[in-house]
């Protein structure tokens, strides 16, 4: 079975070809445009998706020597995301579906991230998956490709947002996550003590909005004339440690409670080297394996969408998924307060 997958839920336009669960190609527009045109892809613009999508889809087919005649099914991100962005990918997939008379499998973006560890190695069920990105922070207990349980979510800001907004307060450029990571490498994570909200809340939810306030007043009090450059590594390392400690602590506690042997970290923030290292070290202490996918599978990508579609088709048969709608929020994945 050969699947053409399309992802356009946020800023990246991506297309991938998956054959029998193996990734044949995975084209991501920001890399694509960066390398081919040397420019920056405008953010937030569904128009940018529109401009990119044909080229990205063609490139995903060409780069593995396939044509539309080889494609058995389409997969597309249907939720959650920016509505204008989702519409572009979904309608493109629908049009291809009608033209080539092949089914479309709608895929939840977060589900794609959940299983992204499997793209590079087999992760035995059950496992804990920590999905951390600019827009999401969620902890899942995963028992099969079609069943998983949300253990916790962020109550305010996502982890990636916490990185970007504290970076902004520190005067670092956007996106701030990679900047903090870079500076943190030469800093002391114990130099300053920033709050670790909900560390011992007894549940698996997260809260990162307090960190912004704390960093703001810290700068105001300690460095009213601006943060000197030589202090930045220590501050960044300390901020990063505050975020990473909570993520790692909750993921490991969840793994121990559920008695699983693997933790997958996925989503854009899983690219953070501090998170990768700490998760790896702490997991090892409990004889748990931590798996962080390679960069092109961490960020938003179509390979993860095609992969989960192929697994769903395998588990529940080739249902015709011609009906396709899209949603800004994913009700299935949004926790209820009560």
């Amino acid at each position: 079975m050969t699947i053409l997958a399309i992802e356009s839920s946020c800023d990246e336009t991506s297309a991938a070809v998956i054959e029998n669960s193996a990734v044949l190609s995975n084209i991501i527009s920001s890399q694509y445009f960066h390398s081919k045109f040397g420019g920056v892809v405008p953010e937030l613009a569904s128009r940018a998706h529109l401009k990119a999508i044909s080229r990205v889809v063609n490139e995903s087919l060409d780069s593995c020597g396939k044509t539309m005649a080889d494609i058995d099914a389409l997969a597309v991100t249907s939720e959650p995301g920016l509505i204008g962005s989702l519409i572009v990918g979904s309608n493109f997939a629908k049009a291809l579906s009608i033209r080539y008379n092949i089914p479309v499998v709608p895929v939840n973006h977060i589900e794609g991230h959940l299983f992204s560890g499997n793209l590079q190695e087999e992760v035995p069920f059950p496992f804990i998956s920590l999905v951390v990105s600019g827009g999401h922070t969620a902890l899942f207990y995963v028992t099969s490709f079609t069943s998983y349980e949300i253990m916790g979510l962020t109550k305010d800001d996502a982890a990636g947002e916490a990185f970007d907004k504290t970076a902004k307060l520190l005067g670092l450029p956007y996106p701030g996550g990679p900047e903090i990571d870079k500076l943190a490498k030469s800093g002391n994570p114990k130099a300053y003590n920033f709050p670790r909200s909900m560390m011992h809340s007894g549940d698996y939810n997260f809260s990162f909005s307090g960190l912004k306030t704390s960093v703001r007043y810290f700068i105001q009090k300690e460095f009213p004339d601006g943060v000197p450059e030589e202090k930045m590594p220590d501050i960044c390392a300390s901020v990063q440690a505050a975020i990473v400690d909570i993520l790692v602590h909750k993921a490991i506690t969840a793994a121990l409670e559920k008695k699983v042997k693997s933790i997958v970290i996925a989503g854009g923030v899983s690219a953070n080297s501090g998170l990768r290292t700490k998760m790896y070290d702490e997991s090892a202490k409990h004889n748990i394996r931590s798996i962080a996918p390679m960069m092109s599978y961490c960020m938003d990508n179509a390979a993860m969408i095609g992969y989960i579609a192929s697994m769903k088709l395998k588990e529940s048969g080739t249902e015709p998924f011609f009906d396709l709608s899209f949603k800004v929020n994913s009700n299935a994945l949004r926790a209820k307060k009560k």
Binding site: E43, G84, D157, N329, K336, K337
Partner: protein
């Protein structure tokens, strides 16, 4: 235009003020929220959503730009758009995310964080909520509500 001033001494205060403020909201109203990072805009909106019995977790839509919630008041369904324009770099980008269509949806309550980024595109608003941080007290917030 009418202006009121409130003081919040904690996150809980800000949420309670949001809930109290929500009493006056009508379907179709647009609320423009302004204030620096960490001033409590999302907390204030949590309070508004509590008042309308929204069951979804209300969190920051900085990356998704817009969250949609469903609540109710007097057994009538209430639809809320929670927007965050933090990542908007120029007002021109607003047309690409359907901001103006959103602003003119009369059936929906619009709560807009970082509303100042909309510039002249914010042509229609019913309330402005400005949250100010204090220079010396980490927990203190001055909240100014302007009624159009």
């Amino acid at each position: 235009m009418n202006t009121e001033e409130f003081i919040s001494l904690s996150e809980e205060d800000t949420i309670a003020l949001g809930a109290k403020f929500a009493e006056r909201l009508n379907v179709g109203d647009a609320v423009a929220l302004t204030g620096d990072l960490g001033s409590g805009k999302t907390e204030f909106i949590k309070g508004i959503c509590d008042y309308f019995n929204v069951e979804d977790i209300v969190n920051s839509p900085t990356f998704t730009i817009i969250n949609q919630y469903h609540g109710e008041k007097n057994k009538e369904e209430i639809h809320i758009y929670h927007l965050d324009l933090y990542r908007i770099k120029s007002p021109a980008e607003l047309s690409e995310i359907g901001f103006s269509e959103c602003l003119h949806s009369d059936e929906i309550i619009k709560l807009i964080e970082w509303a100042e980024k909309a510039g002249d595109f914010l042509c229609k608003w019913d309330y402005k909520v400005n949250l100010n941080l204090s220079d010396d007290d980490e927990n203190l917030r001055q909240i100014i509500i302007t009624t159009n």
